[in-house]
Amino acid sequence: MDFYNIIFFLFALITIVSAFIVVTSRNIIYSGFSLLFTFFGVAGIYVLLGSDFIAVVQIMVYVGGILILILFGVMLTNKIVDVEIRTGASHMLPAAIGVGILFGALTAVMVFTGWKSEPGLVPQTTTVDIGKLLITDYVLIFELLAMLLLVALIGAATIARREKE
């Protein structure tokens, strides 16, 4: 089980370092591409937790969809030719202090709470069982999410449409 620990710390390091670059980099393009590594690291953590299907969905939806959308948003809202791509930051010191306090409090809660921890009983492949649960116990939420995605599609197209002058 030693190999498991090494892999965990590798993915945790990738996730945290790239997330740090995301929030501190002055160049928004660097932030966008660091977000790619954050999503990959989180997908690796999902695999370590025995959820292979969610990891694949994470890579397909986040990296293939949301990240591309965000990069389109960056490129459509910045003047690439004028080097106006740097973004400002404000209130760095108060934010750092406040977030530090929040992080300390949350970490104390996570570490010192006696969580009931009994690993196991997660099957080797989860895809079949997730599919069965989606069409039995969670079928209402599944259908509602399908409606929500349709509404979001129509809404996004309507909001972003250029009006004819």
Partner: protein
């Protein structure tokens, strides 16, 4: 013998959550605020899946994480449509300079 357990995953998700809050609070660009929100949603997902494994809840936590990913996709699409509209109106997307609902 040292073994990675529930607490380690929870601490990783806490760090990710704090970095997301820091990004939302400090950055001016609206797209950067969106990236912070994505970090926070990923932290929540790590918590869901970690408790699904170590709390012995079967697959329910993983399905909630799947729903969170779907909602994040819808949220990113709508938010970027709003950001594009804001850019058309104000010619920038800095959240501290956008203080009118219309021109």
């Amino acid at each position: 013998m040292f073994q990675v357990g529930l607490t380690h995953f929870l601490v990783v998700s806490t760090i990710l959550f704090s970095l997301g809050i820091y990004g939302i609070v400090t950055r001016k660009n609206a797209v950067m605020v969106l990236m912070g929100i994505e970090l926070i949603l990923n932290a929540a997902n790590i918590n869901f899946i970690a408790f699904a494994k170590y709390g012995n809840f079967g697959l329910n936590g993983q399905i909630i994480a799947l729903f969170v990913i779907i909602l994040a996709a819808a949220e990113a699409a709508i938010a970027l449509a709003i950001v594009l509209n804001t850019y058309k109106t104000f010619s920038n997307v800095n959240v501290d300079e956008i203080d009118k609902l219309k021109e």
